[in-house]
């Protein structure tokens, strides 16, 4: 039959195939291609979203993803174009468009806010910290050269959850990581192979936060069912419930040095629990809207919360009172991340990512350009800040200078709609060589640094330039 088919319907048979070939060739041949090879090497001219094709995925369930079994699809040109059109126009792109004829006057997004304008000198003089400040002519602030970071590329997609993957956490031993999903399960995956090790069921609604304790063999999880659970990983059973939240619990964190768990909830409170006795030590009330994120640290202030009431609060753990309220954000703060080495932290909001200094929460700088609802922030000790947004875009920044060196928008898992791309959580593993993102297309995507990239192949497009004053 096959022979006959070929004989009789040869032209028809080959028609679709040739079409596909054409499609696949399209982006590579195209003059303004959005191929996945496009790394912001020429970022000065056109900073575009990195539209990758689908990640290589195994041809069927239960088939290991290897080099010879993988299936990979490149997006068609039209799809890529529509995607980029749908993406919000970043400052950089706008700038680039404006300055493309000139070609060399690129102002990168993160740097635009950093200003110490001369107009401000009078104010400084007035505030009068030092009398001399008024007399010394202030040096015009220039942007320092950002540190070069190798770009990150997608290398593995782990599919297995049946719902949005809402949270992710890596074990301190770096053997496995844990994800919580909207399918009400918590899954534990092998970090090296990406295989599922364990599924924990018990939540009756979306799991919104997971964290693994470094001080005990415990896993803590919280969900929209108002429950905060403590799992004993030696028995894989729930051993404690922390009961008290009046609404969905959106996030949790463990204190690094004290056996204390902090959860934040939609009931606009954060609660501090004694891990062992399950007692609620403090109820941190003060936010006027849902508290989206909470972070703990050993140094003062020990608790930082970000809320949908657009404020960030730094709390005194001993007294259970607000120490500082930061009201600089205009939109709800859904992500807060602490720098592992510096005494600073960053907060993400749809308007800006802002960096702050501890202990008083003094403002450092804005990292603008990620014009989407930022769901998650994470940073590694190398100073790579990753912001993942609700529309599936991920930006990678240099922490110190706020230079956005890479933008990624990974394609969704096949079978998902384009609108189903979204990043809910991301985390570096303990060795900081892998970046795990929990996505709305029910997958976990794993990125790693591109080993082949060097500063020559992917140069930092930076120009020491006097930074324009930014209005607030």
């Amino acid at each position: 039959m096959a022979v006959k088919l070929r004989n009789e319907y040869g032209p028809v048979l080959h028609m679709p195939t040739s079409k596909e070939n054409f499609k696949e060739k399209g982006p590579q041949n195209g003059a303004d291609s959005y191929g996945h090879k496009q790394y912001p090497a020429n970022q000065g001219q056109e900073v575009e979203y990195l539209v990758t094709g689908t990640h290589p995925y195994p041809p069927g369930p239960g088939v290991a993803l290897t080099a010879d079994t993988k299936v990979q699809r490149m997006p068609s040109e039209s799809a890529a174009q529509s995607l980029t059109v749908a993406l919000p126009s970043s400052q950089a792109r706008v700038d680039a468009n404006r300055t493309v004829p000139g070609g060399n006057e690129y102002r990168h997004p993160g740097a635009s806010d950093r200003s110490q304008p001369t107009v401000m000198n009078s104010i400084v003089m007035e505030t009068g910290n030092t009398k001399n400040s008024a007399l010394i002519a202030k040096k015009a602030p220039t942007m320092p050269k950002p540190q070069w970071h190798p770009p990150w590329k997608l290398y593995r997609v782990i599919s297995g959850h049946l719902g949005w993957v809402r949270c992710i956490a890596v074990e301190p031993g770096n053997q496995w990581f844990v994800t919580g999903s909207a399918d009400r399960t918590i899954k534990i995956w092998d970090l090296a192979s990406g295989k599922l090790k364990l599924s924990l069921t018990g939540h009756i609604s979306t799991v919104r936060g997971v964290i693994v304790s470094a001080r005990s063999p415990y896993l803590f999880s919280c969900g929209e069912d108002k429950q905060v659970k403590c799992w004993d990983l030696e028995y894989n059973k729930v051993i404690r419930h922390y009961h008290g939240h009046l609404s969905a619990v959106y996030g949790l964190d463990l204190h690094p040095t004290i056996d204390v768990l902090v959860t934040c909830s939609r009931d606009s409170t954060a609660r501090i629990w004694d891990v062992r006795t399950k007692a609620s030590v403090h109820t941190l009330s003060g936010h006027t809207n849902a508290v989206a994120t909470v972070r703990c640290q050993a140094a003062e202030p020990q608790i930082i919360t970000g809320s949908h009431d657009t404020t960030i609060r730094l709390w005194d753990l001993v007294a259970g009172k607000t120490r500082v309220t930061l009201t600089n954000h205009k939109k709800s703060v859904r992500a807060v991340v602490l720098h592992p080495r510096h005494y600073t932290f960053a907060s993400g909001s749809p308007d800006n990512i802002k960096q702050w200094k501890f202990p008083d929460g003094s403002f450092i700088q804005n990292l603008s350009g990620h014009n989407a609802i930022i769901n998650t922030l994470t940073v590694n000790s190398d100073g790579v800040l990753v912001s993942g947004a609700d529309n599936g875009t991920m930006h990678l920044w240099d922490w110190r200078t706020g230079y956005n060196f890479q933008r990624v928008h990974a394609a969704v898992q096949p079978g998902s709609l384009d609108s189903e791309s979204g990043i809910f959580a991301c985390a570096f593993d303990q060795s900081e060589s892998r970046l795990l993102t929990a996505e709305a297309d029910k997958t976990i995507k794993v990125y790693r640094e591109d080993d082949t990239a060097t500063e020559e192949t992917h140069p930092v497009s930076w120009k020491p330039e006097i930074i324009k004053r930014k209005r607030f």
Binding site: M1, K4, L5, Y9, L13, M15, P16, D113, R114, S115, Q116, M120, V124, T127, G128, P141, M143, P144, T257, I258, V260, I272, D274, T277, A279, S280, V281, H282, G286, A298, A299, E300, Q302, T310, L314, L317, V318, K321, T322, R323, V324, T325, L326, T327, N328, K330, R341, H342, Y343, T344, K357, G361, S362, F363, I364, Q365, N366, R400, K470, F472
Partner: protein, 699 residues
């Protein structure tokens, strides 16, 4: 010499001073000196330089008009509201400290940013800047310890209730207090100058429930004042942004509670089906193509195979037939050698046979003609010629199709009241219907009407005339008979035998069985016997008598087998005489026996007599032979007046069993013969069904 004494008296009072003054006064008023015994204003005349400042300075009275100063007796005229204005604070440079506004009512250690510098990005610093470094280990450890202690304490208190009870708290040691009363004397304190009091804590019951209710909700204190907003107010939304955020209202295909009219395009827009493009892999098409082709191939192959097989079978059959034909030919040839001359001899007979055969066919065809093309006739005609059963089965007799009004006419007759028409409410009367169902063209008329075409050959064209003809009219009318009025309409109704025919037959049976009448019936029988001989010549010749007799004979044949044999003998004789067949004469299943007249007794008697005559007459055992009696047959239609002269009309049709079978070849010529005879004879076939039967049977 003090400074105030040197200074001139103040000319103005500051606006903010009254409050301070009031505060001072209230403080002063609360401050009570235990030694002061003075109350009220000083007496008049001693008021030089005195100013009323306290409430008690006024006593219970009013102001002092002679003292020129603002006075507020009973706090009348005092400003009640407290100002929340802050006292101006300045920094060492003498600048206003606006920060105080932000810090107002805030906790002291709270960090509040109140300067523009807090909004401005800092200069990017080196990574090794000291202010970016985390606190060192020592500091962190210290903080941790402090925090842990505080939290432990807090937790300890919180979980105290769940802790198991330990030993009771140790009581504090008793205290001894020594005191000496102020009132000394023998009358007081039992004359003691000093006392020692032992103060000890009372033992408390650990299980005692709390004495005071602590479950009352304490209202929450006021929240801490808001922090200064450090961002510009959000921009006004532009029209474009608003349009982008416009979410079209949900348009349901199932619910529209408010009943809005929703344009079709909006409905389509709400339907998300158009948004998705369906991608179907070309492989599907390929697969379908391949499948269909394979299917077609397979079908073709199967068909081809079947065809080949069929051809093979056909050929085999042909071969077999050929062989058979050859064999037959051989056999025929073998036989032809002997039989050729015989065939020639009988050629003439064969020819006649053929002619006979042709004619028979012709006749048959002519007879079949009316029925054959029944379906090809026009509709109305077809409907007319339908069989009755067909009419009913096809519900053509449905009364509703007729246009007649379905009203009960009695309801219109209200001349004597509402219930007058409807039989006056009499339930016993069975007059539910005001008139017969399909009274005009009732079923009865259809049923008992021979179909024209079928009977044309039997009854010629004068069917109507025949139907109208009253066939069984007596020659002489009995006075009481009301034959004229009662033309039979509708079916023959069966009645229980009113003349005691059953009893009579019983008797007859008994006679037949015993051949000797019982004691009671013997004289009568003898009498009958004598009468029979007399009447044999007169009555039996009449055909109508024969009719009755035959009816009874057939009846008895059905009822009592014993008497049948007796009856068959005279039938045989009869047939011989009339040169006709009994079956031709009594073709019907229904025989009419009409006995009318006043003298029922006489009637009965005569009938009985007749029967007895016949029972004795038909004695010969030959049962089914044809009757031939030309003399008797020549005089039919003479119905005996006695048999007919009953006072009451009785209609009794007796079902007869048809015992005489006919061969179709025989029946046809005889039927034709009979028809001819009927045309001449006044005696008719008693019922149309007879002709029906004849027309159909055997063809």
């Amino acid at each position: 010499m003090t400074l105030p004494s040197l200074l001139p008296a103040p000319t103005h009072r500051y606006d903010d001073q009254p409050e301070a003054a009031g505060k001072a006064t209230s403080q002063r008023s609360q401050r009570t000196s235990p030694v002061s015994s003075r109350r009220g204003p000083p007496p008049y005349g001693c008021q030089e330089g005195w100013l009323p400042q306290l409430l008690e300075d006024f006593g219970a009275g009013g102001a002092f008009p002679e003292i020129r100063t603002a006075q507020y007796p009973l706090d009348m005229g005092q400003r009640k509201t407290k100002s929340n204005a802050l006292a101006i604070q300045v920094d060492p440079e003498g600048r206003m400290k606006y920060k105080a506004i932000a810090r107002q009512r805030q906790v002291k250690d709270k960090v509040i940013c109140s300067t523009y510098a807090g909004l401005v990005p800092k200069e990017v610093t080196k990574a090794e800047d000291t202010d970016l470094q985390r606190p060192d280990e020592e500091a962190i450890k210290e903080i941790t310890e402090k925090t842990r202690a505080a939290l432990e304490k807090s937790v300890w208190q919180k979980v105290a209730t769940s802790r198991p009870l330990g030993a009771a708290d140790k009581l504090a040691p008793a205290q001894y207090i020594r005191y000496s009363p102020t009132q000394q004397g023998a009358a007081f304190n039992s004359g003691a100058t000093r006392r020692v009091i032992r103060m000890a804590e009372m033992q408390t019951d650990p299980m005692e429930p709390p004495r005071f209710k602590t479950n009352k909700k304490i209202p929450r204190g006021p929240p801490s004042p808001p922090a200064p907003v450090m961002c510009s107010p959000s921009r006004q939304m532009t029209g474009r942004e608003q349009r982008e955020w416009k979410i079209p209202p949900c348009i349901s295909n199932w619910k529209n509670a408010k009943g809005y009219t929703i344009p079709l395009d909006k409905r389509l827009a709400a339907d998300a089906r158009g948004l998705q493009t369906v991608h179907i892999s070309e492989k599907f098409a390929r697969l379908t193509q391949a499948l269909s082709m394979a299917d077609r191939k397979a079908r073709e192959a199967v068909e081809m195979r079947a065809q080949v097989e069929r051809k093979m079978a056909h050929k085999a059959k042909e071969r077999r037939e050929e062989k058979l034909r050859e064999m037959a030919q051989k056999a025929r040839e073998r036989r032809a050698g002997t039989k050729t001359h015989v065939e020639k001899e009988e050629g003439e007979a064969h020819e006649r046979q053929e002619i006979r055969h042709d004619r028979r066919e012709e006749r048959q065809r002519a007879r079949n003609l009316p029925t054959a093309a029944l379906e090809k006739r026009p509709k109305g005609q077809r409907r007319e010629t339908r069989d009755v059963t067909e009419v009913i089965a096809l519900s053509m007799a449905n009364p509703r199709t007729s246009s007649e009004v379905q009203d009960d006419h009695r309801l219109f007759d209200r001349s004597q009241g509402v219930d007058s028409g409807f039989a006056g409410g009499q339930d016993e009367m069975y007059n539910v219907y005001d008139r017969a169902w399909r009274g005009g063209q009732g079923v009865a008329q259809i049923i008992y009407r021979p179909s024209q075409n079928l009977d044309k050959d039997v009854c010629a064209d004068d069917l109507e005339a025949r139907i109208k003809t009253n066939r069984f009219l007596p020659h002489q009318e009995v006075s009481a008979s009301d034959r004229r009025q009662r033309g039979r309409e509708g079916p023959v109704q069966f009645e229980e035998d009113p003349i005691g025919l059953d009893n009579f037959l019983e008797e007859a049976k008994q006679h037949g069985a015993s051949k000797r009448p019982s004691e009671s019936s013997r004289p009568r029988e003898r009498e009958h016997e004598s009468k029979r001989r007399r009447k044999e010549e007169t009555h039996i010749s009449s055909k109508s008598n024969l009719w009755a007799a035959m009816a009874l004979s057939t009846f008895l044949g059905g009822q009592a087998g014993a008497s049948t044999s007796k009856l068959s003998a005279p039938m045989d004789h009869f047939e011989k005489q009339h040169n006709t067949h009994a079956a031709d004469f009594f073709p019907t299943r229904r025989f009419l026996l009409q006995t009318e007249g006043e003298e029922a007794e006489k009637d009965q008697f005569s009938l009985r007599k007749t029967l007895l005559v016949w029972t004795t007459f038909w004695k010969k055992p030959n049962s089914t032979g044809p009757l031939r009696d030309p003399q008797r047959a020549a005089a039919p239609g003479n119905v005996s007046t006695k048999a007919r002269g009953g006072g009451r009309k009785r209609r009794t049709s007796l079902p007869s069993q048809r015992t005489i079978s006919q061969k179709p070849e025989d029946a046809n010529p005889r039927g034709a013969e009979f028809v001819k005879a009927q045309d001449e004879n006044p005696v008719r076939v008693p019922d149309s069904s007879a002709s029906l039967y004849h027309g159909r049977k055997g063809h």
